[in-house]
């Protein structure tokens, strides 16, 4: 079971909330302070991408985020409900006129793959997800 689950309407203004929650839970899970900026950015990228997919696809379902603390690992999965015509295509649509969206989508994925060593992107008829994980430090005396 996820440590924290989040569902939010596919609106850009909620992406910041997801970033803040993810960074807070990651900190508590023991993710290195130096890596928290990367967690924040990667989650933001994944959520922005999901929001974009929902908006361009006219999908009213919420975007979901699960934050899971595992042994020596903290993982985040960001999911969307945007169906892809072919599994793994990852784009917001195959029709014309979406070049800018596709470019932004690619840039977001480029940032994620540049930041996170352990990342898995899946997409299918029922939507897609980006799963990322970071190592956590062994339990120590926490400040708060």
């Amino acid at each position: 079971m996820a440590t924290v689950e989040l569902r939010f309407s596919a609106l850009p203004e909620h992406v910041r909330t997801a970033r803040l929650v993810a960074a807070a839970v990651a900190r508590r899970a023991g993710v290195d302070e130096a890596v928290l900026d990367e967690v924040r950015l990667a989650v933001g990228e994944a959520c922005s991408r999901a929001v974009g997919l929902h908006q361009s696809g006219g999908i009213s379902e919420p975007v979901w985020v699960t934050l899971t603390e595992e042994e020596k690992l903290f993982s985040i999965e960001v999911g969307d409900e945007a169906p892809r015509s072919a599994p793994g295509d990852g784009a917001s649509g195959a029709d014309g006129g979406v070049d800018a969206d596709a470019e932004e989508d690619e840039m977001g994925l480029a940032v994620i793959s540049g930041l996170v060593d352990d990342v898995e992107v899946t997409a299918g008829e029922n939507g897609g997800s980006i799963r990322m994980s970071w190592p956590t430090a062994p339990p120590a005396t926490l400040l708060s």
């Binding site: 992406v15 924040r40 950015l41 933001g44 840039m107 480029a110 940032v111 540049g114």
Partner: protein, 134 residues
């Protein structure tokens, strides 16, 4: 934190001071500002990012869009940034090869190679030496 924007003219350059977070929510405001400046005839822009706390790929897209617009008018778009966490995003996306990134507004304003990648190699000593991570 929201996005803050202010502009001022220094010589023939327009300095856009950006503060706060540039993300999927706030990036459209920056895009509007850059488009407005270009439409008003400001083609040599310096975007001061020292006050930026967060930048994502949406923000990068807006900056690239701004660069395209000014270049269409033989203009330039220079960045000012010393924050490692922001510079890292430019590095991993390869955009350090696209934007001249300076350490201060004065340095950016004084720079003269307005089109550093427009066909001739003209390394500028004032441009921040950014280490590439292959």
């Amino acid at each position: 934190m929201d996005l803050s924007l202010s502009t001022r003219t220094v010589g023939d350059r327009t300095v856009v001071e950006v503060g706060g977070e540039i993300d999927v929510y706030t990036a459209p405001k920056l895009r509007e500002q850059l488009v407005e400046l270009v439409n008003d005839g400001s083609f040599h822009l310096v975007v001061d990012m020292e006050g930026v706390d967060f930048l994502d790929s949406t923000g990068l897209g807006v900056l690239v869009g701004g660069l395209k617009r000014v270049r269409a008018h033989e203009g330039s778009l220079r960045l000012v940034c010393n924050q490692e966490r922001i510079l890292k995003i430019f590095r991993i996306t390869g955009l350090t090869k696209v934007f001249p990134i300076h350490t201060s507004v004065d340095e950016a304003v004084a720079a003269t190679d307005w089109r550093p990648f427009a066909g001739r190699a003209c390394g500028h000593p004032r441009v921040r030496p950014v280490t590439e991570e292959s």
